[in-house]
């Protein structure tokens, strides 16, 4: 939301007084303990997803840490969950939903943010204030009327419907983040471009988009993770029909119908996690930069 002041960051522990041996040991222990506590739930999931159904049900996953060769390691859970439980189909649906639902809002927001930052038109200040106000509107506020409108227009259960919904919900944050970045670009840059005869459109395409890559990347990661991981919007506007259902909706159904079959649930949960975790670890730097530019969404 509010921009966190990112002052000059000091390089790691240089400015810190070195701790005495005992305090340092305590600090280290605490760090390792918390990190371990934060990781064991995911570790348990991953390990279990690779064990046979029989083994999962008879011994705890932690026993494999001590006796790694006394359990049957297998990929069968993944084959079963992808094929028989329809997770592969849902995976493709997640891609179909997420990629346009990330690109469309970025495109619309980049144009709008440029206009708010560098073009003059009546109502500019007021409209931008409205956008900022919309940042925190809970999605729940929109569900009832939108569902009614969707049912009347036949948009319920269509990819177009969910792209537009995610676009609408993502736009305030996108415009806000991109505005913060684009408005800080140096003015001289534009002036020389305009003197050379560039229109606003060429300035936008040739100058602003390439220069704004860090901000675009940061928002793209946010929106990608948000849409991929969303359940509520998908349940309300897309539904659970296997033709369109995305991974989160499918996994939720699996919990309902096969709630005790941990070989399916663990593998299924991991299938839903793999793409966001890769995106996240790969682009962590951009993601952190985006977080520090400050943001929440409604």
């Amino acid at each position: 939301m509010t921009v966190v002041a990112t002052r000059k960051t000091r390089s790691a522990p240089v400015g810190n007084k070195p701790l005495s041996g005992r305090s340092l040991a305590i600090v280290r222990l605490a760090v390792v303990l918390i990190a371990a506590m934060w990781s064991f739930p995911t570790a348990g999931l991953l390990i279990s997803s690779l064990r046979s159904a029989n083994d999962i049900n008879s011994t705890g996953w932690w026993t494999t840490l001590v006796h790694p060769f006394e359990t049957t390691w297998t990929l069968a859970n993944y084959t079963e969950v992808l094929e028989a439980s329809g997770m592969l189909n849902a995976f493709v649906n997640s891609l179909i939903v997420t990629i346009p639902a990330t690109v469309i809002p970025i495109t619309l927001a980049a144009f709008a943010a440029y206009a708010f930052a560098w073009m003059r038109f009546p109502g500019r200040g007021l409209l931008f204030a409205v956008v900022v106000g919309l940042l925190v509107v809970p999605i729940q506020m929109t569900l009832v009327p939108l569902l009614q409108a969707y049912n009347q227009t036949g948009l319920t259960g269509t990819f177009l419907g969910i792209w537009l919904a995610h676009t609408g919900f993502g736009l305030p944050l996108a415009i806000y983040l991109l505005y913060n970045y684009i408005s800080q670009l140096p003015r001289d840059l534009f002036e020389s471009a305009f003197i050379d005869g560039a229109s606003h459109f060429t300035a936008f395409i040739r100058l602003v988009l390439p220069l704004s890559m860090p901000a675009l990347a940061a928002f793209a990661i946010f929106q990608f993770l948000w849409v991929w991981n969303d359940l509520l919007v998908a349940l309300v506007f897309l539904g659970t029909d296997s033709r369109v259902a995305i991974l989160t909706a499918r996994l939720n159904e699996l919990v309902g119908s096969r709630g005790q079959d941990w070989h399916l649930l663990t593998a299924g949960a991991f299938v839903t996690m793999v793409v966001p975790v890769i995106v996240f670890l790969g682009l962590q730097r951009h993601f952190v930069r985006g977080l520090l530019a400050g943001s929440v969404k409604g």
């Binding site: 701790l19 144009f111 993770l225 996994l251 919990v255 941990w262 977080l291």
Partner: protein, 385 residues
């Protein structure tokens, strides 16, 4: 602004615009139709004159994989390409207006698509929801739905649980995130340590709910416990606990899932803030004889107050709307209901838009102060004024 003398002529731009709109329209029709990919392939075959193949597709259809693949490609082309083509072609049209009109029209070309979607997806529904909450099922505007929300014991339980979530979840995430940021600042391999805390941010709440459902999984005593917490209790000779079914313990157990997810966010922001505190300030305090705890309490904490408030507000808003975690684990049963789950139940299961809307308005009221502060800050910075 544009100094280009040879303006593009009108008709190619118009034709491009018409073509874009038509193509987008066909693409969307194909996506909406049940047999879109089949019809597309059939027509392509007919177009190239391979009528035998066309008949085969018409009769037998395509394999599900092929069909899905075509659907994906069309979806990406329409969704991603369509929006860009629209901007390009409309700007092509604007290019041929005179410079005077161009300057007036162009900003609106840039902002209108975003504003239209914002109006339809956020502004109109917000107003409409308030209206529905007052009028649905009533002859005239009344507060009936609000009264029922505020008197029904199940609703009150949801409101109470939501309050517990907000207090415990927000403070929990901020305190652990702050503690870890401060501790990790002092060790080597800080980045690695932080990644462990940070990673859950990438995991969906549904995924997290499944992960923790497994952690707390319960089986009757005597059977092998495969959830680690009950496995631990078992090892200690205690009876296993059905964590999700025992109120009020279950609400706290669910809140822990949220804390697990959100701590990484708090840590990243607060860690950057801690590193932003000038070294000489810390040095001066140490020279004056302050120990490390005093430095943290007197210098660091006040120095990052703003960031703590930002982080707290952000997590507050996320937790206010908590839905997935409760929905997937207990579905609101065993006295774990929260407002967003209750609202979904009212809307989808009970088909009661009036009560659902009243619940949504309750959530909105909770964020209005934050909204006001944001807009006021914006005004103070003089943005866009």
């Amino acid at each position: 602004m544009t100094g280009s003398t040879d303006r593009p002529r009108g008709w190619p731009a118009l034709a491009a615009f018409a073509l874009t709109v038509t193509a987008a329209w066909w693409g969307l029709r194909l996506l909406a139709a049940d047999d879109g990919p089949e019809r597309l392939i059939e027509n392509v075959y007919r177009l190239v004159g391979a009528s035998a193949s066309a008949d085969a597709v018409a009769t037998y259809g395509l394999t599900p994989t092929t069909s899905k693949f075509i659907l994906t490609v069309v979806a990406l082309v329409v969704g991603v390409g369509g929006v860009w083509l629209l901007f390009l072609t409309v700007n092509g049209l604007v290019d041929r207006l005179g410079p005077r009109f161009e300057r007036i029209v162009r900003p609106w070309v840039f902002v209108t698509p975003a504003l239209v979607l914002l109006a339809f997806y956020l502004v109109y529904p917000t107003i409409r929801t308030i209206w529905i909450s007052l009028t649905d099922g009533a002859e005239s505007a009344s507060l009936d739905h609000y009264l029922s929300v505020l008197s029904d014991p199940t609703m009150l339980a949801a409101l109470r649980n939501n309050a517990v979530w907000l207090v415990v979840g927000t403070t929990g995430s901020v305190i652990i995130g702050l503690a870890f940021a401060a501790l990790a600042d002092r060790v080597k391999r800080e980045a690695l340590a932080k990644t462990f805390i940070f990673l859950p941010l990438a995991i969906s709440m549904v995924g997290a709910a499944v992960i923790w459902r497994f952690v707390y999984y319960w089986r009757p005593p005597g059977q092998p416990q495969i959830g680690i917490v009950n496995g631990l209790l078992d090892g200690l000779g205690r009876d296993p606990i059905a964590f999700f079914q025992v109120p009020p313990l279950n609400t706290f157990v669910l809140i822990l899932i949220m804390v697990w997810l959100q701590t990484g966010f708090a840590m990243v922001i607060l860690s950057a803030a801690i590193k932003g505190i000038p070294d000489d300030l810390l040095e001066a305090a140490r020279i004056d004889g302050a120990n490390e705890l005093q430095v943290f309490g007197r210098i660091v904490l006040p120095g990052i107050r703003g960031s703590i408030i930002t982080v707290g507000t952000t997590i507050f808003i996320v937790i206010l709307k908590v839905f997935d975690i409760v929905f997937v684990t207990t579905g609101g049963r065993f006295d774990t209901d929260v407002v967003a789950v209750r609202m979904f139940t009212e809307l989808i299961r009970f088909r009661n838009p009036g009560r659902a809307s009243a619940l949504a308005v309750v959530l909105l009221v909770a964020v209005v102060p934050i909204m006001v502060v944001n807009v006021r800050n914006l005004r103070r910075q003089g943005v866009g004024a």
